[in-house]
Every structure is written in structure tokens, then in C-alpha cells.
């Protein structure tokens, strides 16, 4: 049965948390004065979330040492508030007009002092559909990028942008009204080149969506964190965040280059462009801030076939990113990280699938991941060759 998505304001909890009767579980996100502080999956009986478990969790959340900060006080890292930098919001879209419309409706509600919104139309199947949806929103500018791939589309957005920071979200995501304010705040610190935010599931209506959330959740926790290039291994980016919810200082692209078109959705490597950029930012010694108050809700793939291809794509992307990091960035540690991912994550997961562990993903998902390892380096190199021939 599906899982309901519920939000709970902890400073004023309702006496009853009611969800639809079709749900037997609820993914409850607890907030304190609007700031998300934790989530829990709780059982639902007759459309009502179990009251005892809600209050048990409220008490535990309030006591949690992981959330010391008073509501609205910002984080330990934040400096005295100053004017936020100007921002351009970029949404790259390809053949998903319905998702894009929902995203743009949400963006229209985002507080942002009239910041610029650019939709990059990267359509392949139905040219013009993205532009038509973008045309429904007066404040949105649509540009067409004919070179395929998310990296090419994002690079086009960077070239078209005028803001001091470029904020990226995906067409299948729904940003909250306070998203932009929270995402821009850490840029007070000149060492911060990138800010990522908290990504939560928009719906958990199908088993594929549940599996996605359980096994490759975009969420990175509820505590603000700072990844400092001087102290962090630049390849240790697993907890940094994801491209669906990130902002990057525009001058960073001038210094370390833009997204690698041989990585990312639409390229042979299919993913990994965000990880690559995170690594280059940290290797240059700058900071990435993770700010959980910057929330977007992501619609995970509903179809199990899409989910399997997403797992495969993610795995190809990771190994392609490591190939790039080894060959282009000349980081020998890429071999160590690749081996670590294979031996500490993928092979144990494959073993659990072989044993039929109830919590494990289907075996075919895990074998697809291993296939990715064999082909990813070649796919990355193919992407680079294709990019050269495009020029």
C-alpha cells in the first residue's frame, strides 16, 4: 500500500493527524517554525497516524542533539545576515510538460525578490512542448538548447544567467516558497561556492517510488553541514547533495569550468555531472554548504522499469565520474573510491539480493549496476569523443 506524505509543525502539533484511508503508512516530516528537523515513517490506522508514535517522535526530535539550533536562527556556520546575492533559477526540461508546469507553479510562489527564472528546452521527442508550458508563465524565460544532455542544458542556463548564483532544480521537483532564501543565505561566506538543499519525496504512491526513496534517497539529513575543500577529500561527496537542489556561485564556473557534457542525463554516461562539479569545487579548496531548510519535493519515478534504468544510469554515472576524476583531474584516489563502492556497497548488496533478503532490491537491479562498471569508462570516453565531434 502507498505511503502518505505528511508535514507536522512540532511547536503546534494537531491533536489528530489524518491522512487518506488508502494509506497504511505515513512519511511524516517534522518542522520547527517551518524548518524541517526530522522525518519518520509511522503506521496509519483507519486514515489516522498513530497518536502515540507521533508524540514519541516529537519528544525524541525535541531532545535530539542533532538539532540544537533554535527555529529560524540559521546555523552555526551562518554569519551576520547581509543582503542575499542575486539569483537565477534554472530548470532544464525534456519531454515532461506536466512535471514542468507543476515545477513552474511552485517557483512562482518561491520568495525571491523577482529573481530570474530560465527554462532550458532540451526537447527531443516533442519539440515545442516545453516552450509552450514555459510561455504560460510571464516571469519565465525559455531558451532552446539543441545539444542533447543535462550538462549541455545547464551550461546553456549558466551562459544565459545574470544572477550572482545559479540555482538548479529539475522539472520533476517542487521547490518550497522559502527554498531560494535558504539556498542563498550561506553565500554570505565568500568561501562558499555551492549550496545544496534537502530533497524529500513528493509522493510515495507506487512500489517503485518506495524503493527509490529507501535505496537512493536524495535526502542528506536535517543538520546543516559544511564541506571544506581544505579538509575534505574532494572525492568524499556522497553526503553533499544532488543536482536536483543546488546553487552555485557564477564566478565558480569561470574558475573551474562548467558541467562536463560527457557526464549527466542525455550523455552516454547518463549521470555524475553534479558529483564531478562538487569534486572540482572541493579540490579547489572552496566550500559546499548543505542547508536542509532549502527544501524541494521530488517526484520519484513511478514505473518499476524506469526505476531499474535509473539504478543502472546512476551506477554508470558514478563510475564515469570516477573515470573522469582519474583521467582528467588526475586524482589517483578515484581508483580507491571505485573499489570501495564496488566491494563495500555493490557486491554486498548483490549478495543480499542473491540470498533473497526481504529488504533487498531485485537481483536484476544489482546485476545491472555491475554491468555499469564494465561499460562506464568506455561510455565516458565515448561521450568525450562525441562532444569533440559536436564542436
Amino acid at each position: 500500500m502507498p505511503t502518505a506524505i505528511v508535514q507536522l509543525e512540532l511547536s503546534d502539533p494537531p491533536s489528530t493527524l489524518r491522512v487518506g484511508e488508502s494509506y497504511d503508512r505515513a512519511f511524516v516530516v517534522g518542522r520547527l517554525s517551518g524548518r524541517p528537523v526530522a522525518h519518520a515513517v509511522l503506521s496509519v490506522v483507519d486514515g489516522i497516524v498513530d497518536r502515540e508514535s507521533v508524540f514519541d517522535h516529537v519528544a525524541a526530535w525535541l531532545a535530539s542533539r542533532s538539532s540544537h539550533h533554535p527555529p529560524g536562527s540559521g546555523t552555526r556556520e551562518s554569519a551576520a545576515p547581509r543582503d542575499p546575492p542575486s539569483a537565477t533559477v534554472a530548470v532544464c526540461s525534456r519531454d515532461r510538460p506536466d512535471d514542468l508546469r507543476r515545477c513552474l507553479v511552485a517557483l512562482a510562489r518561491v520568495r525571491g525578490d523577482g529573481c530570474e527564472v530560465i527554462v532550458v528546452d532540451n526537447d527531443a521527442v516533442s519539440p515545442g512542448a516545453t516552450a509552450a508550458v514555459a510561455g504560460e508563465f510571464a516571469a519565465v524565460r525559455c531558451v532552446r538548447e539543441t545539444r542533447p544532455g543535462l550538462s549541455a542544458a545547464r551550461n546553456r542556463a549558466i551562459a544565459e544567467s545574470s544572477g550572482d548564483v545559479v540555482c538548479f532544480t529539475d522539472d520533476d521537483a517542487v521547490p518550497e516558497p522559502g527554498w531560494l532564501d535558504a539556498l542563498r543565505a550561506p553565500f554570505d561566506d565568500p568561501m562558499v561556492w555551492c549550496v545544496t538543499g534537502l530533497t524529500l519525496p513528493l509522493e510515495l504512491e507506487t512500489e517503485a517510488q518506495e524503493l527509490f526513496e529507501r535505496h537512493t534517497s536524495h535526502g542528506r539529513g536535517y543538520e546543516a553541514r559544511r564541506f571544506r575543500g581544505a579538509e575534505t577529500n574532494p572525492l568524499a561527496i556522497g553526503q553533499v547533495g544532488a543536482g536536483v537542489n543546488m546553487a552555485i556561485r557564477r564566478t565558480a564556473f569561470e574558475q573551474i569550468g562548467a558541467f562536463d557534457p560527457a557526464l549527466g542525463a542525455g550523455s552516454p554516461a547518463r549521470a555524475g555531472e553534479d558529483y564531478d562539479l562538487f569534486t572540482r569545487i572541493l579540490a579547489a579548496g572552496f566550500h559546499i554548504a548543505y542547508e536542509p531548510a532549502a527544501v524541494v519535493w521530488h517526484r520519484h519515478r513511478r514505473d518499476p522499469r524506469d526505476l531499474k534504468s535509473a539504478f543502472y544510469a546512476y551506477s554508470v554515472g558514478v563510475y564515469a565520474y570516477l573515470t573522469r576524476t582519474l583521467l582528467v583531474e588526475r586524482e589517483p584516489a578515484a581508483i580507491r573510491y571505485g573499489a570501495k563502492w564496488l566491494f563495500q556497497h555493490q557486491l554486498p548488496a548483490l549478495w543480499r539480493a542473491l540470498l533473497g533478503d526481504p529488504g533487498a532490491l531485485p537481483l536484476s537491479f544489482r546485476t545491472a549496476e555491475l554491468r555499469a562498471l564494465a561499460v562506464a569508462p568506455a561510455l565516458y570516453l565515448a561521450g568525450r569523443i562525441r562532444r569533440r565531434s559536436d564542436r
Binding site: 511547536s11 519528544a59 526530535w61 542533539r65 538539532s67 540544537h68 527555529p71 551562518s78 575543500g229
Partner: protein, 425 residues
């Protein structure tokens, strides 16, 4: 410009004419007109620098003083003796003020009379993957970002003289920098101690920003660490009550490798100095091979040795060191401690700290003991703006506390003993 200037800019320099000229050109380019005078003090005669400075046409009165080399502390004092304005601004000769710097310093003195005003000077380091410049940039950035936080508790080690302004009256009343610090190595921190002890407030002003053209290398950082070690001993000599909190007092309890490094600094400095001389080579190789962890370990160990080598310059034997750090040989100042009951609310707690300015505080919530913040030698007294940081240090979940005070219905949600580790869902 006729009449008394509002601000006297003092730039000590030593054999870097092009650098000091860049500083002066940037002072010409200030956006808001400010009645200023500039005093450049050549610390060690240099014909080239003197000729370049004396032939310079400026819109502000420029004094060039020359002295035999005696260190930055002496040069700054010499400039301050000549200064006519009520506010002294010290700029290092590799610091290039941004266009709003002078006006921002003056505004800070207007809004905080009697304060010591610190401006950031962000290092101008091109984007690189080399680890040493990255570490240098990180150190400076962490320093200035730390000071910019509203709850930051200033300490004497925040007093950096590269971009610092201070009322002339206060500077003279404290007799300026201590010329016993011969090279740049702790003279600014030492002045910071005396200023804090006299009750001066430190104010960080991000708008008074400058660029710092620092050309650091690992070898220079080793020399700096050695100066810092010697500087810390001089600080301890002048302020015995601070000895127990100097970095080398803590590092005596360090692990085996650090103890060995200290032993080398005292017993076999010739071997240690040779290792320091060749250390930049393996560091370079590790950097090129991107062996970050090993690079950090080696660099840190060598700097640690250099620091101890500086300590050993003034305290040549381990017995001297033990006598220097002997708690029985010094008298601590009388620290002021208060007890604060937070049932009266956080705003009331902040108000009391602002009025009483204690060195230490014990926090309670009714009968519940929340913990104590002991006195920390070398830090400013506690103020209201420090309360949140104190609670965080003591591990008190602040929002739970504020909810308990503001919303009685939720108070049962407070854990039985604040600060205890609780299960995270």
C-alpha cells in the same frame, strides 16, 4: 588638505616598494572622501623604497619615516607617535584596501566609540589545486568568517594588525605595541591581551575589507611557526597568568610523535633544522601525487617542530619550560563568575550578561543544573550575544529550552536531563 585629519593611516614596510605603492594607490582610490594622512615607516633603510615614496604625488599628506630595522611593532609605534588624527589605522604593506575601507573604519568608530575595529583582508590567491595556498586561504577565511558570527567571543588572537584601527588615545594609553617582539610574531596578539584586559571592545567590520597579497610558501610558513613559538613565550613572559593557556602548554600532553618532535627541538635542533630545510621537497611530491592526508600529516609535523624550535629559542632547556609553565609560579587574575537562572527567559539572561560582563557563568533552569562555562584566559568577558553559543557548547538543546519557556504545554517534551544524548528517530 588643511586641518587635522580624521584618520592616520600607518603602513610599516620592509623592502617591498612595489607592494607599499599598491597600498597607497588603493588609498587614493577610496570612494568617499576622507580627511586622512598616511605615514609610511621604512623599517630598515632602503634607498629604492625611499626614492619611490618621496617621488610619489598623492592627494593626501604622506610622511615617510625611516628607522633602523627594529621590527613591525617598533615601526608602527614610530608611525603612531607622528600621527595627528584621533583614529589610527594600521595597514600591512601587502594589504590593498578596497574602495570603502576608510569610510567603513570611521563609521565603526562612530557607532562604537572606543572600540578596536578589525577589518578583513582576504588573501588574493588564484584558484589552484596546490594544497599550501588552499590551506593559507582557508586559515584566513576561517578567521574572518569566525569573527563575523554574531555570537563570536573575541580573544587576543583575533587582533590582527594588517587592517586594524584604534582610537589614538587608547593606543597611547596602552603604550602601543611591545617592541620586545623583534619580528612580526605575536606583537599584535600581545597588544590584544592588554586591550582586552583594559576593557576595550573588539568590533569586526566586514565592509572595511581589503585584499591581502600574501605570497606564502611552505618554507615561509615554517619560519612563521618558529616566530609564533618565540612570540608565545614572550607573551607568557609579559603575562604570566596566560601561560597555562598558551598553545605549547596544551601540546605538552600531545601524542608520541609530537612529544618526539618536541624532544628534537630541544635536544637535537641541528637534525630538526635539516629536516625543515628539505621538507618542502617531499611536500611538493605528495602534493603533485594528491596524497592529501600524508601531505597534511608531514606539513603539520614540521610546523609543530618549528613552533617548538621557536619556544626553545627563549626556553632552551626542558627544565626552563617546566619552570615557565609551573602553575605555582604565577597568580591568576580574579575571575568573575555569576549564576544565571534561565527560567526568567533568554532575553533576561542576555540582559544580565550584558550588564555584568562576567568571565564565567553557571547556568541553571530552576533546580536543574545546565552546566558551567569556565573562565577562558585571553577572551573578552561574556556578553548577552554569547549566550546561544554558551548553551550550544554545554550541549543544551536551545530550541527545546525556548519552547519550554514559551510554551508550557510542550515542556514535558524536554528530556529529563538537558544535554544528555537522546535517541534520534
Amino acid at each position: 588638505m588643511i586641518g587635522r585629519p580624521r584618520i592616520s593611516v600607518i603602513v610599516p614596510t620592509h623592502g617591498r616598494p612595489s607592494s607599499v605603492l599598491r597600498t597607497l594607490r588603493a588609498l587614493e582610490g577610496q570612494l568617499e572622501p576622507v580627511a586622512m594622512e598616511v605615514i609610511v615607516v621604512l623599517d630598515g633603510p632602503s634607498e629604492e623604497s625611499e626614492r619611490a615614496l618621496r617621488s610619489l604625488m598623492t592627494t593626501f599628506p604622506l610622511d615617510v619615516l625611516v628607522q633602523e630595522q627594529a621590527g613591525a611593532a617598533s615601526a608602527r609605534n614610530r608611525g603612531a607617535d607622528r600621527a595627528r588624527a584621533a583614529v589610527l589605522l594600521f595597514l600591512d604593506d601587502d594589504v590593498e584596501p578596497l574602495p570603502g575601507l576608510l569610510a567603513a573604519h570611521l563609521r565603526a568608530h562612530e557607532s562604537s566609540p572606543g572600540a578596536v575595529v578589525l577589518g578583513p583582508y582576504w588573501p588574493e590567491i588564484p584558484v589552484t589545486r596546490r594544497l599550501h595556498p588552499i590551506m593559507v586561504r582557508e586559515w584566513w577565511a576561517a578567521t574572518f568568517t569566525g569573527m563575523s558570527k554574531p555570537g563570536h567571543r573575541f580573544g587576543y588572537r583575533d587582533l590582527l594588525a594588517g587592517n586594524l584601527s584604534i582610537p589614538a588615545e587608547i593606543f597611547r594609553a596602552r603604550s602601543g605595541f611591545d617592541p620586545a617582539f623583534p619580528m612580526a610574531g605575536g606583537e599584535d596578539w600581545e597588544l590584544g591581551i592588554r586591550l582586552l584586559r583594559s576593557g576595550a571592545a573588539f568590533v569586526y567590520t566586514p565592509d572595511a575589507a581589503a585584499r591581502h597579497h600574501e605570497s606564502s610558501t611552505p618554507a615561509k610558513s615554517f619560519r612563521r611557526a618558529r616566530l609564533e613559538g618565540a612570540g608565545d613565550v614572550r607573551i607568557g613572559l609579559r603575562h604570566p597568568w596566560l601561560r597555562g593557556d598558551l598553545p605549547f602548554a596544551w601540546w605538552r600532553k600531545a601524542g608520541r610523535l609530537k612529544r618526539f618532535v618536541r624532544w628534537v627541538a630541544f635536544r637535537a635542533p641541528a637534525v630538526g633544522d635539516l629536516a625543515v630545510a628539505v621538507a618542502p621537497w617531499p611536500l611538493h611530491v605528495l602534493d603533485v601525487l594528491r596524497c592529501r592526508a600524508m601531505w597534511h600529516r608531514l606539513g603539520h609535523t614540521v610546523r609543530h617542530y618549528c613552533y617548538w624550535r621557536g619556544v626553545a629559542e627563549l626556553l632552551p632547556g626542558v627544565d626552563d619550560l617546566d619552570a615557565f609553565l609551573d602553575p605555582g609560579a604565577r597568580t591568576d587574575p580574579a575571575w568573575r563568575e555569576i549564576e544565571l537562572d534561565l527560567r526568567a527567559g533568554l532575553p533576561e539572561g542576555r540582559r544580565r550578561l550584558d550588564i555584568e560582563r562576567p568571565d564565567a557563568v553557571r547556568l541553571r533552569y530552576g533546580s536543574m543544573d545546565l552546566g558551567a562555562m569556565p573562565p577562558i584566559p585571553g577572551l573578552e568577558p561574556l556578553a548577552g550575544r554569547h549566550l546561544d553559543a554558551v548553551l550550544e557548547t554545554l550541549g543544551v538543546p536551545l530550541f527545546a529550552l525556548s519552547l519550554a519557556m514559551e510554551n508550557a504545554s510542550l515542556s514535558p517534551a524536554l528530556p529529563p536531563r538537558l544535554g544528555e544524548e537522546a535517541a534520534i528517530p
